[in-house]
């Protein structure tokens, strides 16, 4: 019989497989079985009475034998013996002439009684054994299913806390117990991590036991048996010989847990241990990956800081010192130029720094979007307004269809995307070449295109241009850290869109990005 793991009832796993104390077999010894045996014999007597005139006595005995065997197959030992004795007696009494008396000559039927009794006992013994084996197999199957379900559920958990919660919930369901999980905190003190809401009461003496289970050298399951007279049972969560925590179990409807159940709990505990270890390893590898990335970021940052940040600083220091020098007789025009240089370079420094800050902000914590439905036109408008000074007389052509649907976006971040893309176009194209910005709806996405009429991109650029600290092949002397487009990419992707760049056939570069028009339910 196949059992769905979900409907394993508390009882099926709890059944103890020792025949002496088996609750399943005990139920067979009740009065109903005896009544059943009696009923079978009454029927036997009836049919024997009908057949008594045309059947030999030995064949009539067979009728009784069939009845007794039915009882043996259906019931336990007691009713079988009862049926056997009653059968032989009633055969002697009703069938063997002289009828309705136990005659002296009937003593020979004692042999019949003995033989039938022997057969009954043998068959009954076999039956009990078969029944016990079936039950054990059933029990094992249920437990395997329970273990399997647990490992499936745990594998689905990616984070330690939810893993612990799932484990506690699962075990308390299948074992009909209160369950807690204890794990060491930073100070190596065991603390309850899951399962307190079940009403598990952890008394100081029990905490001591949990501690000793966690710290003791010998942590075989038998060891913990010594505590089975306590309220709870405490098992270590072992992984390759090291304890990760302790599983505490308090049975709800039993005084103590049998050794079978303890063994089973230990295998559950081992399963949890293995899953915990997996989760821990996954977290660790995630951490180290992050560390490597930060390390790379840092080295790239250092190398770019040394050049890109120092150049404008050098200009500022140089120009300012020139202005400060009292002996220098600068013409008004020269002074004006130096001052203009200082101003321009400060602006450049500011841009570099704010991009750096933005990037660290975007990469350190997951971007939290404040999405609001709004027309794209509005964001484009405010971006262009902020760029007013830099745009100067540069022709900017905007083509936004009047019926373009509104789109959910984080206005501040999206403004940054427009500003970075437009600034990028300004930087790498001739001063008078036009910039075109258009938007259109494509299915459930809104596609924006920002095109320039500059030299376009190299094939390599198209692939890598959105990577952190990547500088295009034709950047030449233009200062920059290579973060502006990387910022665009993280922002657009956080919105669920895509960003890419192409060189158009007529030479200029086009930057595209899409934004989903519908807000997906965020996980």
């Amino acid at each position: 019989m196949k059992k769905n793991a979900e409907d394993i009832s508390p009882l099926t796993v709890l059944i103890d497989s020792h025949p002496a104390s088996s609750s399943a077999l005990k139920t067979v010894y009740d009065w109903k079985s005896y009544l059943f045996a009696l009923l079978v014999l009454v029927i036997c007597n009836g049919s024997a009475w009908i057949c008594k005139d045309f059947l030999a006595l030995t064949n009539i005995l067979m009728i009784y034998l069939i009845g007794i065997l039915i009882v043996v197959f259906k019931c336990g030992k007691g009713p079988s013996i009862f049926a056997c004795v009653l059968g032989v007696l009633s055969f002697d009494f009703f069938m063997v002439p002289p009828r309705f008396v136990f005659a002296h000559s009937d003593t020979q039927y004692l042999i019949t009684l003995l033989v039938i009794l022997m057969i009954t006992l043998t068959i009954s013994g076999l039956m009990v054994r078969i029944r016990y084996q079936t039950e054990t197999i059933q029990l094992r199957e249920n437990r395997t299913a329970a273990l399997f379900t647990l490992s499936c559920k745990l594998a689905a958990c990616q984070e330690v806390n939810s893993l612990l919660e799932t484990a506690v919930e699962h075990i308390s369901h299948i074992m009909d117990c209160r369950v807690i999980l204890l794990m060491p905190d930073q100070n190596k003190l065991l603390t309850v991590r899951a399962g307190l809401e079940s009403g598990f009461v952890l008394t100081p003496s029990e905490r001591k036991i949990a501690d000793s289970v966690y710290h003791s050298e010998n942590r075989s399951p038998q060891e913990t048996k010594t505590f089975s007279d306590m309220d709870g049972l405490y098992l270590p969560l072992m992984v390759s010989g090291n304890p990760l925590g302790v599983l505490g179990v308090q049975p709800l409807h039993q005084d103590s847990l049998s050794s079978e159940q303890q063994h089973f709990l230990q295998s559950l505990a081992n399963q949890i241990g293995a899953s915990l270890e997996n989760a821990r390893l996954a977290e660790e590898s995630q951490k180290s990956r992050l560390q490597i990335e930060t390390e790379q970021l840092r080295s790239a940052l250092l190398s770019s800081v040394s050049h890109d940040l120092r150049t404008p600083l050098a200009v500022i220091t140089g120009s300012a010192s020139g202005l400060l020098e009292p002996e220098n007789r600068l013409s008004a025009k020269a002074r004006q130029e130096l001052i203009q240089d200082i101003f321009d370079e400060s602006e450049r420094l500011n841009r570099l720094l704010s991009n750096l800050l933005e990037m660290t902000k975007l990469s350190t914590d997951k971007i939290r979007l404040k999405k609001e439905i709004q027309p794209l036109e509005e964001i484009l408008g405010s971006s262009l307004f902020r760029l007013e000074k830099k745009l100067g007389n540069r022709p900017v052509k905007t083509m936004i269809p009047i019926n373009l649907p509104m789109v959910p976006l984080d206005s501040i971040l999206m403004e940054q995307v427009f500003i970075n893309l437009i600034e990028n176009a300004l930087k790498y194209t001739p001063p008078d070449s036009p910039i075109e910005i258009s938007a259109s709806q494509e299915g459930t996405f809104l596609k924006t295109q920002i095109s320039d009429h500059g030299p376009g991109l190299e094939k390599d650029d198209e692939e890598h241009i959105f990577e952190k600290f990547y500088r295009g092949l034709k950047t030449g002397t233009q200062g920059g850290v290579g973060l502006g487009l990387a910022i665009c990419k993280s922002i657009v992707e956080a919105h669920g869109g895509k960003i890419w760049a192409e060189t158009r056939r007529d030479g200029g570069a086009s930057f595209y990005f899409t934004l989903p028009l519908t807000t997906k339910t965020e996980s």
């Binding site: 400060s346 500011n350 704010s354 800050l357 933005e358 902000k361 404040k370 609001e372 439905i373 709004q374 027309p375 036109e377 509005e378 964001i379 484009l380 408008g381 405010s382 262009l384 307004f385 900017v396 905007t398 936004i400 009047i402 509104m406 206005s411 501040i412 403004e415 910005i437």
Partner: protein, 232 residues
Amino acid sequence: MAAIYPTILMIEDEEHIRRFLRHSLESQDFRLIESATGAEGLTLAASHHPDVILLDLGLPDMDGLEVLQRCRSWNTTPIIILSARGKDQDKIHALEIGADDYLTKPFSVGELTARIKVALRHSNRPNAASIETVFKSGSLMVDMQEHRVTLNDQPVHLTPTEFKLLAILVRKAGRLVTWKELLSDIWGPTGGDSTHYLRIYISQLRHKLEENPARPRYLITEAGVGYRLNVD
């Protein structure tokens, strides 16, 4: 208070910023008083009755927002916030609890003087009755009394809500008006957070008033905060 030169109180802990502001503002005939801490700033605001207060949000002794709140509890002097980049939440909060405008560092002196002038103009005519009835900016003309709007001398037809919205922005021309203010002014305190209605009306206004709605001249969006009606 009625000094010949407008008095500006500057509450800013950064010595260098104070110096460059002092040089540039004094050269433009503003009288400047300075304070490096919030506490001193509050005392000076009470004793000197400045015409405009420039307030930095990052002060050593107390939160700039607290200075703003205490200031607002007893006077209505225009306050312009000078804030560092990337603190949009602070900016919005500051505007909500009574700041008149904000400037993100770094800013140019030109920008600052323009904002100070707008603030002074508004504080000089404190009540609605004395507001000029005709507003002009570029080719846009708004006659508040007649409810008439013209663009290049051509009349523009606005719906009542659109006009209401424009009127609020005109009344605070040059100053930043937060979404919250606009919503509650138009739809009352129950206006709530339905900023997307506002965006639709602004978009409609832009399509009627702007030459290129994607590159507005008059109705400027301050991303994440609100709108500003640009004056030339």
